[in-house]
Symmetry: D4
Subunit: 221 residues, 8 copies
């Protein structure tokens, strides 16, 4: 059985749900990735590649690597043409610690792939509230806030108590002991005492960005 038989791109997804096709690369073999990228190129499709490790990227043939705009911190790549963001930023991506930056960047890159730019604010954990308070007026102006935090995961709660925006919490797997893997942060966000905190899976910067896109594209009238 050929490799291709196991791969079917969903190029009509943007039409259906407003979000383009993305490829979660981590669990795929290089052979599968090569096949997918060739199929995408043949159809003139732009693809968002997530969790594409440097080792996987390096193993791709040169003809494909050259077509990909790869960003190693977030392990994301754009294959094909991606338009520049149209207007000013409408999303704040706020990260509690330096170590959460990779997940925050995945969200930023997903947004830009879809033509949205974002303001990235890092190192504003709740144990140093004054850093967050310095930036709160800026954050308040943006209709969607993606709050990225590992460890005790309190950032979305504190933010949701101070802004009217949509607040999307992204727990990260940063941490050790009971914080290992991110469940402590996830549970803290789900248990938030602030009204209306939304949550996505651990380390899922991509999903948070997709949800932001849905919110930003709400029909209004």
């Amino acid at each position: 059985m050929s490799v291709g038989a196991e791969v079917r791109l969903d190029l009509g997804r943007a039409e259906r749900v407003g979000v383009g096709e993305a490829i979660l690369c981590a669990p795929k073999s290089v052979a599968h990735l090569v096949h997918i990228l060739d199929e995408g190129a043949a159809k003139g499709a732009s693809l968002l590649l997530t969790r594409l490790s440097p080792a996987q990227f390096d193993a791709l043939p040169a003809r494909q690597r050259e077509r990909i705009d790869y960003e190693p911190l977030s392990q994301t790549g754009y294959s094909g043409v991606v338009a520049a963001p149209a207007g000013k930023a409408r999303v704040a991506i706020v990260a509690a610690g330096t170590s959460d930056a990779a997940v925050a960047r995945e969200a930023a890159r997903t947004l830009r792939f879809h033509g949205e730019s974002a303001v990235e604010i890092t190192d504003v954990g709740v144990a140093g509230l004054w850093r967050l308070l310095e930036r709160i007026d800026e954050i308040r102006q943006l209709p969607v806030v993606i709050a990225v935090a590992g460890m005790e995961g309190a950032l979305p709660t504190v933010l949701a108590g101070m802004v009217k925006s949509v607040v999307i919490g992204v727990p990260t797997s940063v941490g050790y002991g009971v914080a290992t893997g991110g469940k402590a942060a996830l549970y803290a966000m789900l248990s938030s005492c602030a009204p209306g905190v939304l949550v996505v899976n651990i380390d899922n910067g991509y999903g948070a960005a997709c949800a932001a896109l849905r919110a930003l594209r709400l029909p209004h009238g």
Copy 2:
């Protein structure tokens, strides 16, 4: 120490975060509730009461019961004046099974407390897809979809693959065996293979509605 010392209403919350003061009644004693309701009445505030059990409601003094619009399925009450919804429904509340109706109703009641009406659609679980497909065009018209499901919790995933709206999953604690307490549904929603599914805590219809309010009130331009 008097009872009142432990209670402080947050009547400025609507101004700050766009959502009014709500009282989670389940863990509070009747004495606390009486105190809170009297304070709200004295200040002319409208309060949303959630998880107010029939036993708690019945134990309130008549003067307070009379002021409360109580709905037993959702165990919610409105204390004080609540305006009628202004426009047509902008939220679809879709529930997988009959047993999820209480949580769906909590979301609906929270929306109406804030002046939003919703379309409630029940018994459209993914094991009987055709029921869902019959209603999908109606759902697609609404900018926010709250998908309530216990058991295997697949409803938000299926919906998010078919609509462009904001999709908020609410896992419920309905179920037995590994589904007991709702973690199976919660994890399924967080693991969704559809892009952009947002999740709130188990049985948290209130939180889903608050998030919907944030999304509906996004500034646009």
Copy 3:
């Protein structure tokens, strides 16, 4: 075998570890409690009773009930003579929500049993930061802070980022969904990104107070 055979009071404990004998009443039968109280009375000992439910208290013989200073919110009782607190308060007991008040009170009552008074501050959850900021200068003056919180359990982290005092987090079992039973709050506290947050078992106001006593009685020179 007589009931008494299974009970042995540890009346030398205060000498050994600086904390007096306390009786965890919940898992004990009324017969055991009666036996313990009689033995304590016979020896002229003062006993701290924790988790003494109203039903258990009511089932005690009148001669024992009369000797007990019972406080129903915290379900604690003092049997025997308890001296009035000597100086001004040295402990701040800060509770995130109204529903955490029972655990906070257990801590306060344990402190007072040992001659320490405390300042109790309630309803200062991190979703409403401004309430906490109003009280922070007062809290900063006290050498030990006991921070009681359920749900997302962020209060000790926020406090430990603002004060130099010893900070002891007490997670509570208040909450539903993933917060049920208090593990979400416990894990959040243990994962705190603020340096030096200490934690005790869920709902263990008694233990937090005992630890505060140890800290307050440190020899200094």
Copy 4:
């Protein structure tokens, strides 16, 4: 003690339970595997090797590698003679995503080892229902459906609501965050709201195929 002392093949198993001897290779040392393969060859037995990693396979002596029909995606091997499938396919193996293909292939290879062929259908996850609906009539014709899915694991539920066949769910360990290791998918399948979904262990394509063989060989009359 010699290596052989710890190995005893069960060559009479097919007679007893209708399924041939299979060797789970992952936890075994190469020395054990060599011993087992030699014993199988000496007795003229055909053996199904599962979870035989490429590294293990490469470490076998050439005389054994040559006798093995090895398939790297599923990490399975046939040692000895395996007859061609007799009739047309009676099992549908349906996989939600590309990444589930390895487990699906393990099931297919186990079936073929026992003389059954299968139809493999991939990339029909429930977030893109229309892909599944395109193939549903084909699937309906087959008496057994093996549904392989990681992440939110909803595929068997959706299928069992549309076909009369035996439906066997195989959760996979594909996924991250709460989906890590496959428990989210497993619990979703066990909690299925569709009647009669059967489940095997995570990643257990082999077990699903063995169960399918039992079902296909039911005596009827």
Copy 5:
């Protein structure tokens, strides 16, 4: 909103998936049940009621109770006409202990509702193997074996090593300590070292029976 709005019977399910409509009663209010039963009666439908507690049954109006064939051990009821089983038993329902009998009976009642009879064999736990061995020849004759066990859940494994039939394990929540709730038994069944053991949710006798029906009705040719 009237009660009826939340209920929609799926009377076409038998046509679609080969299993009739069943009502999981435990999480439903009596008002819902009354509505469902009246709707079923009006349409001349036969309904299988599962997890209908004696308290719920007693709360139904007499006109409905009279129409229901209620069995208290399994907490199941038949509403409407149920035909007598046509042929001899084709399913063995084997239960490890006396305490598993309720779940075994739920399976038996579900089968009979669909016209299949079963042989029920109880108290054949693996700690007393000789009891099981006395019955093994009888069990071997039947094409489907439902093995019900709590505690260490080893029964399906032992059976699947001795018969060629389809083996469906039903873990039960009987037990204490680590066996509480049935996860120990569930995990043991999923981890079975016997090839082809299938598993359903804890206490899900109904689901095991539905799966048995699917297997028995396989088209063959």
Copy 6:
């Protein structure tokens, strides 16, 4: 601080508890191991080394490697003089599968270090009962049975239903999916429906052997 400061051998342990000093090597650095071995040699002590990986063993200086009787399957070593077993075997070590042999061997090596020999019986899992039944009379003669099993962990239960001996279950971490890490087997053993099954930690062949030594050396009269 020198390495030695962190190491203190307990050479009086045999006198106190009847079991000699053993060194759990896995978490120790090579420097620590070298120090321990030198100290042992200097004092003429015999040491049992457990979980000594081949890599650790190879990193020891030649002078120490030469003194050690190393067995790689169980990763155990004897440093110093170990007497030959005195009498005939009094312990049966029964392992469910080939993959459990390493843990079984650790138990056997621990026994021999203390002068006891054992009968090792492998590949007698409960899915192939007849293999176990062939050896049961032999097993019955021995006063202590150590039953080693991963996966569904049913072996100790089946054995304890057939013999009067002390039965010690050792769950192993062999397995995948829900069996990963050995908790499925552990819980099955703890939940055993056979009376008097004893359990030790996962993969703890050493502990099972120590317990066997305690049992064999019971004073009797």
Copy 7:
């Protein structure tokens, strides 16, 4: 189907495994218990009844209650003739706290049912070591020690470091917060750093006693 069909006593068990028939009453209906007791009486068998709640006991017919020696603390009963213990105590049952006494008593009652007497020592938790040290010489004389503890479960570890006897740990479900249900104590016992600690299920005083019987009846020579 009559009640009796689901009950089969195992009156030959003592012959086979050295421990008599015991009935775990908690999950059984009163009808089942009545049937079992009548059958036992008819056959002249002595039965050990465990987890027989006062409510269940009171619901038995007078003719059966009169035959039963019921002990409410341990919720055990003897039905039929039970011989007096023959010799002096050979088992120490040591309980950490007053609240563990019920489980300790279950062990003691199980031993006495089989003709063994035990020394019960209570309130010797490791937080008050001196109480334990006062009794250690007495404990050391007995060949088997059953150590019962909830909370942090350290008692068996401390004991096993001081005696040569067989040490059987029984975790109890006493405790709150992370200790709820007994898993903290169970895991502590399994993780013991003392060599040869054996463990049974949470609250399983019966199982510990059965294991003690096996150990005491070891053939020696």
Copy 8:
């Protein structure tokens, strides 16, 4: 975006909370670390580096390595000037086993970074009580005790029953089976039956030391 954008040192922390800036290195890239160290050097700040692996340390440029006082057992480094401890030791760091030494050393290094010295006592696990009892008088003199233990985690409980000092338990991830990762030790410490045991996250020697600093610097009067 440049690396530096994601890093913001908190050099005012000592002023605010009494503990200096520390950098958790494990989750950071070498580029981030280089940036942080350069920024610290430029500002003349002293930094405590924790969880700095040898591989990370070796990857730093020579100019930075030379400024760092690196200690490999604890994987800590001091960058910049660190003053010698002023007075005699006020903290006892007591470790249960040799394998816990790395965590104990992290605590000691954190204390010394802040000018406090400590007494380190190792290999005093509760299974060998006499070793602990030999040192108890020394320990009692020190106002703060940090008790480090993996496995069954009983050390803080035993200590807190013998001293009046502040007792801070640090569970470690040393162990296997149910002790893997340290939750068994964590839960045991949280469940302690000794009054006033405080706990920090698994392996968090740094946090325990920070808490000790808070306690030692309590204002007294």
